[in-house]
């Protein structure tokens, strides 16, 4: 079963992201959440999801560091950054870290479709490769 982890310290933002994830037509999709960076890192390393929707400005540990440490620990899933941090320098830093998508908040209108496109593409690619 494909699994998506949503990481955001705002319960409202997690709910908005969950609506988008659950709107994707992927059979058996499991969605879980983390509200801070430390819990996110644990989730990504202990029971790795296929895809993470990752906020960057997080309590406990910044999203950059979550991703860096998760990769170092062997996490190979897809990561779509969903952030209010709209700096070009942040986007460049995320490109260097090899994220699979970068969507800026707020999650309304066109950004909903942008996130949904990333999710569809990555989750369908995973389906085409089999459960692995």
């Amino acid at each position: 079963m494909p699994k998506v982890l949503i990481v955001d310290d705002s319960a409202w933002a997690r709910t908005l992201a969950r609506q988008v994830v659950e709107g994707i037509d992927v059979p058996g999709l499991e969605v879980c959440e983390a509200a801070d960076g430390v819990v996110a890192l644990e989730s990504m390393t202990v029971d790795p999801p296929d895809l993470v929707v990752l906020d960057l400005v997080l309590p406990g540990m910044h999203g950059d560091e979550v991703l860096r440490q998760a990769r170092r620990a062997g996490f190979r899933g897809k990561v779509v950054v969903l952030t209010a941090d709209v700096q070009d320098a942040t986007r460049a830093a995320m490109d260097e870290l090899g994220v699979d998508g970068f969507v800026t908040k707020p999650l309304v209108g066109a950004t909903v479709e942008a996130l949904a496109d990333h999710l569809r593409r990555h989750l369908e690619a995973r389906g085409a490769q089999g459960d692995g």
Partner: protein
């Protein structure tokens, strides 16, 4: 005092996050470096308690930028930076060391522009999501202690006047900048703000509770 529920506070905190992200993008363009944001702390409290809540910060000289805004929700937005943070920020902006306590007219103008950027980014995000519009009056910059400034405002002790206080920290290279944004509104605006947040919640997530 108008009370805000946990879910209303969650939404307001996220909206402030959006604003700080936009402000950071502008500051990043000005400094040429990436701004590393930390999670802002957001509190809603009676204005009369603001100086005590801030503790020693209220007694220190701070660089403050005051901007009055009008609209469905109207009030005062005050960005204040402890002087070491104001100095760090100026050094990042102009690229040379600054005196700790004295700012030239040009330096004050630079700080006012930063205040203008941060206040407009936060209130702009709030206005966009709440489908309202704020008009901004000309900002004022001052270097003074906060407590006398707050106590000199005759409206401070109005029990219905509330303050949405954002405590923010960001880093550029190895420098930290601490800043506070106080959005002060009266009872009618507080009610209008709470109603607008409820409309946003209904439109986006229905009857969700955190």
């Amino acid at each position: 005092m108008v009370e805000f529920s946990a879910r209303q506070k969650d939404v307001l905190t996220e909206v402030v996050n959006l604003g700080m992200g936009r402000a950071a993008a502008s500051l990043s363009r000005l400094t040429g470096d990436r701004i590393l944001l930390e999670v802002p702390r957001v509190e809603i409290l009676p204005l009369a308690q603001l100086d005590d809540h801030l503790g020693e910060v209220a007694d220190q000289e701070v660089c403050s930028v005051l901007q009055v805004f009008e609209g469905e929700v109207a009030g005062d937005a005050i960005l204040f930076l402890p002087l070491p943070s104001a100095r760090n920020l100026l050094e990042l902006l102009v690229g040379r060391p600054m005196a700790l306590t004295r700012f030239s007219e040009l330096e004050q103008a630079a700080l006012m522009e930063v205040g203008n950027i941060v206040i407009n980014a936060c209130l702009g995000s709030l206005a966009n999501l709440l489908k309202t519009r704020f008009s901004f009056l000309v900002p004022h910059v001052a270097v003074q202690s906060l407590r006398p400034m707050l106590r000199g405002d005759g409206r401070r002790d109005d029990p219905n006047r509330i303050c949405l206080l954002v405590e923010s920290r960001f880093r550029v290279k190895s420098r930290a900048v601490d800043g506070y944004l106080a959005i002060v509104v009266g009872v009618a605006s507080a009610r209008a703000l709470a109603s607008a947040v409820d409309r946003l919640l209904t439109a986006t997530v229905g009857s969700w509770t955190p």
